[in-house]
């Protein structure tokens, strides 16, 4: 019985370990070991892998080498002789009719080779049709001899020309084989213990785990994701912005009113009735309910006056302000409409108390849509009302706010907004884009907005705003807003989303 027949898995592994023990520190190659044990190389590789799984028993370094192998036809030739030799052998002294020869298994290939070797000759004019005769006494089957050399692992001793010829005849192929160089590992032993896959309750109860060996885990594979729900990335960012405002002492405004009157959305903010933003092309107007019905009338009269005639030190816009225009219901174009309501409410207090407000909610614009613009988006807004606030206070507040977002390099550009004066656009330096990009807009609300509300003269109100979508798209590297907001969202992106850590 050959050793290979006796070697199933563990037994083979132990044979390999014994050879390794004998080989000493330098180790051995898997090809040589397979040859020495009379095994297919693949069998030996199986043993190496099972030993690797045990941990530190062996160290196996992968190598690759080229080797010449016999094809199945090549192996047949070693057994039976080359086709041409078989043809030669089958021809008796009196010769053989060509037709008969051609019917032999090696006939066709063997005949042409034997002819070109001049081992046989053809007599076309023989009685009974063409006939083949031996041309020499005996032949030397060099093809078979060369193949035998290859089988003995001595392919290198053949001339390259011969190897190529045999390759051309599809008797030899060159294969790349993955081999291992095997050395003893730190936990080397010549015996293999059976390994447990995992810990069981029984092992814990019996204490048998103490004596058992466990299969090593493959730490390179990924685990199984937990089944869970996920929060939407944009709303994760919203949560962080809320947190920042709360950390800074800002109170959340009730912005749960998407429908707003033009009065609170525009007129209260001293935005003239002919302003382009109040155009059909920019704002969604309502058909039903088309008009708002209820206004604080005293305040409304003061708003009308400041627009049409001026007052409180202002020239006003000097045009015919109409209630009809102010009554028109719209989908609010900014949450500043709510800020106006809040500041009006603040002004109705007996005694003014300072206030800090924020909101993050939806606003609507009837605009042309593209990859970064939708008809609805979220506006983030912060407002501080107190005596004596300065432009420096606005800038300082913005610096603190943006620092919490992880944005430290800021600069400010003069800008125009209809209801803030001074106004400033906020730019931050974007490392990726290598340029200054606008990150928000800000200003001090105009006296024409605040004084008709009834706020005391010395009170200033600073405010700033930005969109929620833009920082989120930048944060998560999203180019098309539709992948983020709305029903066309990519749920895989929602599933895979990281935590929102704005300052990280």
């Amino acid at each position: 019985m050959s050793p290979a027949m006796a070697t199933d898995g563990p037994a083979l592994a132990e044979l390999l370990l014994q050879r390794l023990e004998r080989a000493g520190g330098s180790g051995l190659g898997s090809l040589e070991a397979a040859a020495a044990l009379g095994l297919e190389h693949q069998q030996l590789v199986g043993a190496v892998k099972s030993l690797q799984a045990l941990g530190e028993v062996i160290e196996a370094e992968q190598r690759s080498s080229k080797r010449w192998e016999l094809t199945s036809e090549g192996k047949e030739i070693i057994q039976e002789g080359s086709h041409e030799a078989r043809v030669f052998d089958s021809i008796p002294a009196e010769g053989l009719p060509q037709s008969k020869l051609m019917n032999l298994p090696s006939g066709k290939v063997g005949f042409s080779k034997a002819m070109s070797n001049k081992w046989v000759r053809l007599d076309k004019n023989a009685d009974g049709g063409p006939r083949i005769f031996r041309a020499v006494e005996s032949v030397q089957d060099s093809v078979r001899e060369k193949l035998q050399l290859v089988q003995q692992g001595e392919a290198e001793s053949l001339e390259e020309k011969d190897r190529n010829e045999l390759k051309k005849r599809k008797l030899l192929t060159e294969v790349v084989i993955k081999t291992y160089w095997i050395r003893k590992g730190s936990a080397f032993s010549t015996t293999v213990t059976k390994q447990e896959t995992d810990l069981t309750p029984e092992m814990i109860a019996s204490g048998s785990w103490r004596d058992l060996k466990f299969k090593a885990y493959n730490f390179e594979a990924l685990g199984i994701m937990p089944e869970s729900g996920h929060l939407h990335p944009l709303l994760k960012v919203r949560t962080q912005f809320r947190q920042i405002f709360l950390e800074m002492g800002f109170t959340e405004m009730p912005t749960n009113n998407f429908i707003e009157s033009s009065f609170w959305n525009f007129d209260a903010l001293f935005q003239p009735q002919q302003h382009p933003a109040r155009d059909q092309h920019d704002t969604f107007f309502l058909q039903d309910p088309a008009k708002a019905t209820d206004f604080p009338m005293d305040y409304l009269k003061r708003v009308k006056k400041i627009h049409s005639q001026g007052g409180y030190g202002s020239q006003g816009y000097k045009y015919d302000w109409t209630l009809e225009e102010a009554r028109k219901n719209i989908l609010r174009t900014h949450t500043t409409a709510v800020s106006a309501r809040m500041l009006y409410r603040l002004a109705q207090q007996e005694k003014f108390t300072p206030a800090k407000y924020f909101s993050i909610d939806r606003v609507f614009r009837n605009e042309t849509l593209d990859a970064t613009h939708l008809a609805e988006f979220h506006q983030i807004e912060g407002v501080v009302a107190d005596y004596g606030l300065t432009l420096g206070d606005l800038m300082g507040t913005l610096r603190e706010f943006f620092t919490k977002l992880g944005i430290s390099q800021l600069r400010f550009k003069p800008a125009y907004n209809p209801y803030t004066e001074p106004s400033m656009e906020v730019f931050s330096y974007h490392q990726g884009l290598q340029k200054w990009v606008e990150v928000g807009n800000s200003g001090i609300f105009r006296p024409e907005m605040l004084l008709p509300m009834g706020l005391p003269e010395g009170v200033s109100v600073i405010a700033w705003g930005l969109s929620l979508e833009r920082p989120t798209m930048i944060k998560y590297g999203i180019n098309n807003i539709r992948e983020l907001v709305g029903h066309k969202v990519n749920l895989q992106m929602v599933y895979d989303g990281p935590l929102c850590r704005l300052d990280a």
Binding site: P276, H334, E421
Partner: protein, 600 residues
């Protein structure tokens, strides 16, 4: 400007100037970066560096751009209220004064010598269509190709911005030497007006002119302003030559050219304040090229009632602002004289009066945007340099509060995700079909608010349910492995006559389970979990219960109403196969939608 969400988007006008011409006028060269920096500091934005060739090849393809000019153009964004910066002349003047290289010019209205003042008589018919007009004369002006182009371009910029696409004000400029006053601004039936319009080869009646321009890419936008009026505005000279038919087109007869020396400017308007501003801007900008620089010849406008006004007004207004106020509003501490100097650099000539207690500021006719002391303070801050202001943190002490409804929403979101549902974020606006037909309901049975001017069906109504958005989210994600479990907590909008605007939001929670089986028990279990989170027990008296109900969106016999806090708060059930099909879905689906406001 969308990121600038605190502010209603206002189209920032863009002025395009030739770089060489600009540097020549500024008397020095800048690198693009230096000029960008200067713009930033002054409140402008160097939006783009381009050329005519670039623009054409970008818009129409490389082929069309061949032969176009490759002279470098700067496209500069100008604040929407700074009409004095809408042309090269104004930009250069503003920047040169800012950099203290020149003093702001003083604009003067003068009466003509040796000739009668030009008169424009307004008849009462104009009252019905376009009641106001103002006029002025640019005497002995010298045009060049660039100056002429800038003159035309400024009129176009003014038309697009302050003139509100000619609805409020329309400008006409005429070669005065081709006509003779007095001029009459009147209104006539379209059939009675007949003249050769600018750059046309024959005469047309006003009605024909309207037809002629119906397909004109530019002029077609202005036709609606007068189209349905019985009388059209028109200006004649004393020989019945038509100067213009505002706000549509001038006559060809009075067309100005590079050789024109005397320009008659008229502005007709529905808003007299804006007409005066527009006239002031146009004449202050281009009086630079008059023989007597920065002077404008007056014109007299007479109403039929005998009231006479002299234009352009070119009024200088004086304001007094306390230095202390400027310092306090900005957060700086400059001396009064230094503040006066800062303001003077913004074309607001200022000096200290009293014992240094006041700064007197002269507001020139070019700065109609200055309507309050806060505008003056802003200019002082710009001249000081926004980025030189010391940043400070307000001492304002406040205790923060969350809005209770949002606080509850935040808590519920976290726990719904923990319960294995994924959050969706869908649009508040949708089509009528989404909230009615597709749910098997009639639109009149919803309390939906309707939008008057939607550009597409996607924006017809505000949603009255979160369900359609979630179903559409699933339809867009059909490739994802099942089951799909989604939720959303957000606002729907319902008509509500108790609100000042007649409608209000309601915060709803909606969840949906989409799989090969309907999974009613999953959605029912989620309801139980939500109630557990809200500490509402399953009980008839003080808790919640569900009872069989009918709803067109649900499969008959598979729908229940949810009662809690003594009221109906919503429904749950297996969706109707028709609903599933209409939302382009193929699997059974169960859903839950409740109003969470009773749990505050």
């Amino acid at each position: 400007m969308r990121s600038a969400a605190v502010v209603q988007v206002c189209d920032m006008p863009t002025v395009s100037v030739k770089r060489e011409l600009l540097f020549q006028a500024l008397g020095r060269r800048y690198t693009d970066e230096e000029f960008d920096e200067l713009c930033f500091e002054f409140g402008l934005e160097l939006d783009e560096i381009t050329s005519e060739k670039d623009i054409i090849s970008k818009e129409q393809g490389d082929g069309k751009a061949e032969g176009a000019s490759d002279i470098i153009l700067y496209k500069i964004d100008v604040p929407a209220n700074r009409y004095d910066l809408l042309c090269l002349e104004g930009l250069v003047r503003g920047l040169q004064v800012f950099k203290e290289r020149i003093k702001a010019p003083r604009y003067k209205r003068i009466m003509p010598v040796n000739v009668d003042v030009q008169r424009l008589i307004i008849t009462e018919e104009t009252a019905q269509v376009r009641p106001h007009a103002v006029a002025a004369v640019l005497r002995n002006i010298t045009f060049s190709k660039d100056r002429y182009d800038s003159f035309i371009d400024l009129q176009e910029k003014l038309h697009q911005n302050i003139c509100r696409k000619r609805a409020l004000v329309a400008i006409g400029t005429h070669d005065l030497d081709t006509i003779s006053g007095p001029f009459t601004y009147t209104a006539r039936p379209p059939s009675e007006i007949r003249f050769k319009p600018l750059n046309q080869s024959k005469e047309y009646t006003a009605s024909e002119i309207m037809d002629l321009y119906r397909t004109d890419s530019q002029l077609k936008h202005y036709l609606h302003i007068i189209e349905n009026k019985p009388l059209y505005p028109v200006i004649y000279d004393s020989n019945s030559v038509v100067l213009s038919m505002p706000p549509i087109i001038n006559g060809d007869h009075t067309k100005i050219s590079l050789n024109t020396r005397n320009v008659f400017v008229e502005c007709t308007a529905t808003d007299i304040t804006k007409a005066k501003i527009v006239l002031d801007i146009l004449v202050t900008m281009f009086s630079e090229y008059c023989e007597k620089q920065f002077t404008v010849e007056a014109a007299e406008v007479t109403y039929l009632n005998g009231k006479t006004c002299i234009y352009p007004e070119l009024a200088y207004r004086r304001e007094k602002v306390k230095p202390d106020l400027i310092n306090k509003k900005i957060g700086i501490s400059e001396t009064p004289s230094s503040l006066a100097k800062l303001l003077t650099r913004m074309c607001l000539k200022s000096h200290v009066t009293g014992n240094g207690n006041n700064i007197e500021i002269e507001i020139p006719p070019t700065r109609a945007d200055i309507i309050h002391a806060c505008d003056i303070i802003e200019d002082a801050a710009i001249a000081y340099g926004y980025n030189n202001i010391q940043m400070t943190i307000p001492k304002t002490y406040t205790i923060a509060n969350q809005f209770p409804l949002n606080k509850l929403t935040e808590l519920l979101r976290q726990d719904l995700a923990a319960a294995g549902f994924t959050e969706a974020l869908t649009f508040a606006l949708c089509s009528q079909e989404d909230i009615a037909d597709k749910l098997g309901a009639d639109i009149s049975s919803t309390k939906a608010v309707h939008i008057a001017n939607p550009k597409t069906a996607e924006f017809q109504v505000a949603r009255t349910s979160l369900l359609p958005g979630l179903l559409k989210t699933i339809a867009a994600n059909r490739k994802m492995p099942l089951p799909l479990k989604l939720f959303e907590i957000s606002d729907i909008v319902l008509k509500d006559s108790t609100k000042d605007v007649g409608a209000g939001n309601q915060r709803n929670l909606c969840a949906i389970y989409y799989n090969k089986n309907p999974g009613f028990e999953v959605i029912h279990g989620l309801l139980d979990r939500v109630m557990q989170l809200l500490a509402v027990p399953p009980s008839k008296e003080s808790g919640y219960l569900i009872k069989a109900a009918e709803d067109s969106a649900f499969f008959p016999g598979r729908c229940a109403e949810i009662l809690a806090k003594g009221q109906s708060i919503g429904k749950l059930g297996v969706l109707h196969p028709d609903v599933i099909t209409k939302f382009e879905l193929t699997m059974p689906c169960s859903a839950l939608e409740i109003n969470i406001e009773p749990f505050l």
